[in-house]
């Protein structure tokens, strides 16, 4: 393995960001008052977080709006100065924005576009070619390769405003990656996309990570993104990290039960069923033949066996609690350290 100047792709220690803002009371009087005497308030968007990400990892940032995900991403890419703490990405201090650093990273935001609306995306690509000083041959090879992976190669000459939302997002990724960054920051990359496009973007990102070893840090509202892409998640709320670890570990520690759904061929007497369940709670459903159960992990085998013994089972499924539900639990237990 090659020796590099840095041990981790991303290293963050006690990172904090405080925004100052003015308090303004409503109405004309409030406006006048705030003109002369401003109350400057502070909001801690990020409050002393620490984590390390290894080269080639794909890590998901989970958290509600205003949790500090985007602020962290912006500090790591170099857009925002830190209030306190220490951050190092690829051995660089991001906020210095040294050209050598900027050449190795990319930030893609689902809600902001760097494409020129009225002209084909190729124009923006050629601009990036000059900005990043890419050799002709390399540039063309990269565009061809990414164009194929994203399936937008044939759309490079079409005006951006004529592309669909999904195509535009893929184009956005192509442009952002044309200089082959080592670290990719993604802020809500699939927001507003239809299910098929979301799927395509996910597949692309995981292929990119596999092929190029790109380190990816992404925030998303869609749990599917995180489930499909990120072996590791950071759960953040109110500027603090509440969980840092494998997604499976998060599921196990927060949701010690599984969801069992049983569909019977004919109605089963209530007392027989209750006996088979041995105290496990029933979640009522509208269909009398369908029974849903929330079963502690260690009792799943016993309970399902008991149900099968009742006879007349048409279908039986065992599922994990959805990640959405798990994250909701982490946040309702706010302030309490959940794990990690």
């Amino acid at each position: 393995m090659l020796t590099t100047r840095y041990e981790y792709a991303i290293e963050v220690e006690g990172l904090s960001k405080t925004y100052a803002y003015h308090h303004k009371e409503p109405g004309l009087r409030g406006s006048l008052r705030s003109l002369f005497r401003r109350r400057i308030l502070e909001r801690r968007a990020v409050d002393g977080i620490s984590f390390r990400i290894e080269t080639g990892e794909v890590v998901g940032f989970l958290g509600p709006n205003g949790a500090g995900k985007t602020t962290t991403l912006k500090m790591l890419s170099g857009l925002l100065y830190l209030t306190s703490g220490h951050a190092e990405v690829l051995g660089h201090t991001p906020s210095r924005r040294e050209p050598e650093y900027l050449r190795q990273i990319a930030l893609v935001m689902g809600q902001k576009s760097m494409l020129w609306w009225d002209i084909p995306a190729m124009e923006t690509l050629l601009l990036h070619k000059e900005m990043y000083d890419l050799p002709d041959k390399e540039f063309r090879a990269t565009v061809r390769e990414l164009g194929e992976m994203l399936d937008v190669g044939h759309l490079l000459g079409v005006q951006v405003r004529k592309l669909s939302l999904g195509e535009r997002m893929k184009m956005e990724l192509l442009v952002a990656l044309v200089h082959r960054p080592k670290v990719l920051f993604l802020d809500e990359p699939t927001i507003g996309l239809d299910v098929v496009s979301q799927q395509r973007v996910r597949e692309f990102l995981s292929e990119l990570n596999r092929r190029e070893g790109t380190t990816v840090l992404l925030t998303s509202h869609y749990m599917d993104d995180v489930e499909a892409l990120c072996p590791r998640v950071l759960v953040i709320d109110q500027g603090r990290i509440h969980f840092d670890g494998a997604l499976t570990e998060l599921v196990e520690s927060t949701a010690p039960e599984k969801l069992v759904t049983v569909v019977f061929a004919q109605p089963v007497p209530g007392d027989e069923l209750a006996a088979a369940l041995g105290g496990v709670e029933l979640i009522p459903t509208e269909d009398p033949l369908r029974v849903r159960l929330s079963v502690p992990r260690e009792r799943v085998a016993g309970v399902t066996a008991g149900i099968v013994r009742l006879g007349g089972v048409a279908d039986l499924t065992i599922q994990d609690v959805p990640v959405e539900e798990i994250v909701r639990r982490v946040f309702t237990a706010s302030g309490r350290e959940v794990a990690g």
Binding site: K74, R97, P99, A106, D118, E123, E130, M131, E188
Partner: protein
């Protein structure tokens, strides 16, 4: 070199945009011609009843109008579209991309947009200078033209610096539209030779607002009446302006709070 190639790309993008809106382009060029006609008419009327104002003859003032329009065209071409866009980048968060390109952010925000229809104004303004110059009996020399161009360039750079300084405040202020209007108001004064103004106002227009460098001095160069030492002053001022605005920009960027997505 790389910066030149990046600029060339922006030029090509502007061209592509022009092709996209051809009618728009034609209308802009025509508007420019009408404006030129009106400007000439103003001066013709002004000199109906007098032969010279503050020592400037009719043909000379017409020349100055031409120089003013060259400077105005250069500003419209490269400076003003960008100065108008900067507060927008800050408000809407487009600055994110600008800051993450491995190219000077000040450079990018200053050259990104070009208003190519202004090239039409440039051509007509040069034509006006040549016409009025011949009437004023100018003996054209490469030296005089080069000196005039150098003065104009200093003037444009100084005007750009002034405007850029104001616009950089958008990192702290929310809207700046009215300030840009103020800038235009002052620049309009450059249509007239600085000697039309007296006392404090003349000093302010010459140095605080570098209007004289943009128009009066270049015209005097063509007329062979310029003080060459002033060119050195202009170059020093322009260089100082560029350094100063760079320092202020770097400081301002630290206050960027990046509009939330």
């Amino acid at each position: 070199m790389r910066y030149l190639r990046v600029w060339r790309r922006y030029l090509l993008i502007s061209l592509a945009l022009v092709m996209e809106y051809r009618v728009n382009f034609l209308v802009s060029v025509l508007t420019g011609l009408v404006e030129l006609g009106l400007a000439v008419l103003t001066f013709v009327l002004m000199f109906r009843f007098t032969n010279d104002v503050a020592g400037w003859s009719r043909a000379e003032v017409l020349m100055l109008a031409g120089v003013y329009r060259v400077v105005d065209a250069l500003i419209t071409l490269q400076v003003s579209p960008n100065m108008h866009a900067i507060p927008e980048y800050v408000q809407e968060g487009q600055m994110d991309f600008v800051l993450l390109w491995p190219v000077s952010s000040r450079f990018t925000v200053s050259v990104r947009l070009m208003n190519l229809p202004a090239l039409g104004n440039l051509v007509s303004a040069v034509a006006l200078i040549v016409y009025a110059g011949n009437q004023a009996g100018v003996r054209w020399s490469p030296g005089g033209v080069a000196e005039a161009a150098a003065f104009m360039l200093c003037g444009v750079v100084l005007l750009y610096c002034l405007w850029f300084l104001i616009v950089t405040c958008s990192f702290w202020l929310v809207t700046l539209d009215t300030i840009s209007d103020l800038f235009y108001g002052v620049f309009e004064a450059a249509r007239y030779p600085v000697s039309f103004f007296r006392g404090v106002l003349r000093v302010v227009l010459t140095f605080a607002v570098p209007v004289a460098f943009a128009t009066t001095f270049p015209t005097q160069s063509l007329l062979g009446a310029a003080d060459t030492r002033l060119l050195a002053v202009g170059v020093v001022l322009a260089a100082a302006g560029l350094v100063l605005t760079q320092l202020f920009w770097s400081y301002a960027v630290r206050h960027y709070s990046s509009a939330s997505s």
